[in-house]
Symmetry: C2
């Protein structure tokens, strides 16, 4: 089927979606048609930038990895004792200048490539939660079976472009977990996979498996971004060993590294938004500078995660007004440096209710209207990231599909202005039967996945199910409908041989 065929949507799409099915290109590579919303004036952005440089030069960053400190000092930064590195502002700016403005992540399946930068946007699932939940099975520690189901569902929706690490497969020993999780992503999806920064061995193992799945030579792999990893600075102003290793190893492997400071305003960052952003910015610049030292031109993404804490309990809040403002402002900062921007879809809610939706929306609008290029945690995140929820995944996919449709341009021309249709219908009639409507009604409007637009009586008669209940069914129907994407048997064999060999070696020491 050609890509101009009528797109199938909603549950039909979920059931039937395979790599050979028709698809809607606008859902595969989003382009944001709206100019970004700006929180601050240019002079205010400049003030935040200058404060960040002052933080880097006068306070510096504690860098807990010997290699990283050596690299930084060799490049011209200053050791200030106690593992603290002070950064030269001009050198930081020079290094940031090496980073590419746009990164294309190459998916394994056809039409799975996705670019980040400018007005291009890619969407990633949730990742890194210890728990999984669905309303029938309840909330429980994540397993590989849960991760597999999440992979299957992620594969089923075209608005998901990048695979996050979903849920911890806690039934697999830590030293072998990266083998199992990466294998699941590579066999159940053909989308861009994640790599966890859990030490040099685990990172190297994951890269090798992904390289084999793509059938790339080692040199080709280093030249072709096909996966990504996230380095969280240990705010305030600290980078630990695992994150440093991830930054350096990703750069040397030519794979995307997303540098995301964990700046919780009021806790690990100043209680004021400009202060929290100045700190976020300082930490992001430091990590990206390190990556550009390790390999000039390495693909990176400026990560924004600034939110506030609940000052009564100290626990993080998500999708707050402060979060939305920080997302708008982070877009301005990323564009100031000419870097792609990462933001997130988030909520603190403990169940898939109204709060889960309005907090997620506040974060989505902040991220997307702020100019985000890579949206992490776009589908499935619950409880501030402690749970991956089956129902939340579906509810979020609905919202993502709505955004993909919102981002589609509308043509204004003689035909769409519809004067003739209005003349035909006249006064007090209706448009249902006009030629103008009949020619367009099948594709004119977004058709929902989980939203129920029926009237109260019909809805009540069918059991008065809320969105969460309907989403549960769609999640597991999509699991059932999953068809694994093609992966050449010889490549899978190579991957499995590799896993067997490395398992025999004892797997990875995830603290190294």
């Amino acid at each position: 089927m050609s890509s101009t065929a009528k797109p199938r949507r909603g549950r039909a799409r979920a059931r039937q979606n395979t790599v050979t099915a028709a698809f809607d290109r606008a859902w595969r590579q989003w382009r944001n048609p709206y100019p970004p919303v700006e929180q601050f004036r240019p002079d205010e952005v400049e003030a935040i930038h200058k404060t960040s440089l002052r933080v880097l030069s006068d306070i510096g960053l504690k860098v807990l990895d010997d290699d990283a400190r050596r690299l930084l000092v060799k490049a011209g930064m200053t050791e200030a004792g106690d593992q603290v590195i002070r950064f030269d502002p001009d050198l930081v700016m020079e290094l940031l200048g090496h980073a590419p403005r746009e990164v294309t992540l190459h998916g394994r399946g056809p039409d799975r490539d996705v670019s980040l930068g400018g007005n291009k946007v890619a969407i990633c699932t949730t990742g890194g939660t210890p728990n999984f939940s669905d309303i029938k099975g309840g909330r429980r520690p994540g397993t590989l079976a849960d991760l597999d189901n999440l992979c299957r569902v992620a594969q089923g929706f075209d608005v998901i472009h990048v695979i996050g690490p979903f849920v911890e497969a806690q039934d697999i020993p830590p030293n072998l977990r990266h083998f199992a999780m990466t294998r699941s992503v590579l066999t159940l999806t053909d989308k861009v996979p994640f790599v966890f920064f859990r030490g040099a061995q685990a990172v190297a193992d994951a890269y090798e498996m992904i390289r084999l799945a793509h059938g790339l030579s080692e040199e080709e792999f280093r030249q072709t971004p096909v996966c990504y990893g996230v380095a969280n600075s240990n705010s305030p102003l600290q980078l630990d060993h695992l994150m440093c290793r991830g930054i350096i190893d990703a750069a040397r492997a030519g794979q995307l590294m997303v540098l995301t400071p964990f700046t919780l305003s009021g806790a690990m960052a100043p209680v004021t938004l400009p202060g929290a952003l100045a700190q976020q910015n300082a930490e992001a610049m430091a990590g990206i500078a390190l990556s550009q030292i390790a390999r000039p031109g390495a693909p990176v993404c400026y990560g924004s995660f600034t939110t506030n804490v609940d000052m009564k309990t100290g626990s993080p809040a998500f999708g707050t007004p402060e979060y939305t403002k920080a997302a708008f402002a982070s877009g301005q900062l990323a564009r100031f440096y000419g870097l792609p921007l990462r933001s997130s879809g988030v909520t603190a809610s403990n169940t898939v209710d109204a709060q889960a939706a309005y907090e997620h929306q506040m974060s989505l609008w902040g991220a997307l209207m702020g100019g985000t290029n890579l949206l992490l945690h776009g589908a499935g995140w619950l409880e501030g990231g402690l749970t991956a929820s089956a129902e939340k995944f579906i509810v979020d996919v609905e919202q993502l599909q709505m955004f993909a449709e919102l981002f589609k341009p509308v043509e204004v021309n003689e035909a769409t202005l519809g004067f003739d249709a209005m003349q035909e219908v006249g006064h007090g009639g209706h448009f249902f039967g006009t030629q103008h409507t009949l020619e367009r009604f099948e594709t004119a409007f977004y058709s929902p996945l989980v939203s129920d637009w029926s009237n109260y009586e019909n809805w009540a008669e069918r059991g008065a199910e809320d969105t969460q209940t309907r989403a549960h069914r769609i999640f597991f129907e999509t699991v059932e409908a999953h068809e694994p994407p093609p992966l050449a048997p010889e490549r899978l064999e190579e991957i499995d041989d590799f896993i067997a060999r490395r398992t025999a070696d004892g797997g990875a020491d995830i603290d190294r």
Copy 2:
């Protein structure tokens, strides 16, 4: 207490809010700090505008009221037979030029004035639903007692500025209902009240009651907008008797008239967005032109309600991507004519779940980022407007408060950039105990009304209540905490005497 005192928020605010309590001025008169999002290029807006004028001149509008047709023809429009009026484009534009760019609605209580226009925004509750629902009492036909409770809760939250007609008091006979509903609004709130356009008598009665409540002379009343009414054109391209009367009577009374076409794309308007907008625009211009003939300079608002129908069932959909685009575009059209814009907060959901929240958010963001000045149905609307929901009211107030906070500007200066705080905390510490935090933590962040930010274990231990359940409790707590705003006993006596006299006359013929 002064207006600079620390604002009390959340449930405490709901419980303690009285007209003498401290309040947050930014919540009382919203100012949108963001430039409006634009859906179309200027030449595309121009093309929609020109199509609307062509519709008005070549197809015309069916005007079912004799007085209105006489006024239009006397002003220079053309009778085309069968009650159809064709509009002269130049004359339409000339008439629109008389309408004020900004309207101030004068509330009865202190600091209840609210302006619409430019970047100023006012929020109104839901209105006009036949049913009321709460999760304990269930869904049932609305009564005056339900309306009273909604008035009490609307009075309790500063982010609500204007009172919508909430729910039909179906236990009161139609000929007397406007007395009861208006009396409730005037005695239980001091905010800007609605007037239903249900015939000349009912409108005149409501205006008289509102005039008496304000203690204005008849001449003062005509010079002082203190209430509003909505005229829905009967799309496509038709204005019925009651709407014409409302338009004319509101203009002559000097009270705000919101002209809102009911353009459901695919049903009562073209299936294409530019076509539906061209029709909305034509109908809005026609009604506003009529108001400016009745009284040049009469306060008006350009109403946008364009949404799409579900093409499978024909029922209206709300908070869709198409709705959001139409809201952005309607802002461009309203600004093209220099008129304040009305939009709405909407959902088709039948219960207060995730769908209710994400559809409401899609409409809120479309409205508010589109440059809306008057948001109708901002709190409480459910089931596409068939039910006013207690829980939805609270969930929506939470979202409105989040927007009010989002709209507050952030100052960037030496103190907020927080360099000294970052230096004090250093690497790997936390900001909880710093002077910088202690000076600000009480007011630094938005404190939620119904959102629950506690962790899963605490939340589960307290009964694992979802947002709807928590909202139920807050609604009825706010009802209990209500204190009627001051209304001079002699004014109330005048109102009650008026009601008694008019009731003895037989009330209003609501079809005239």
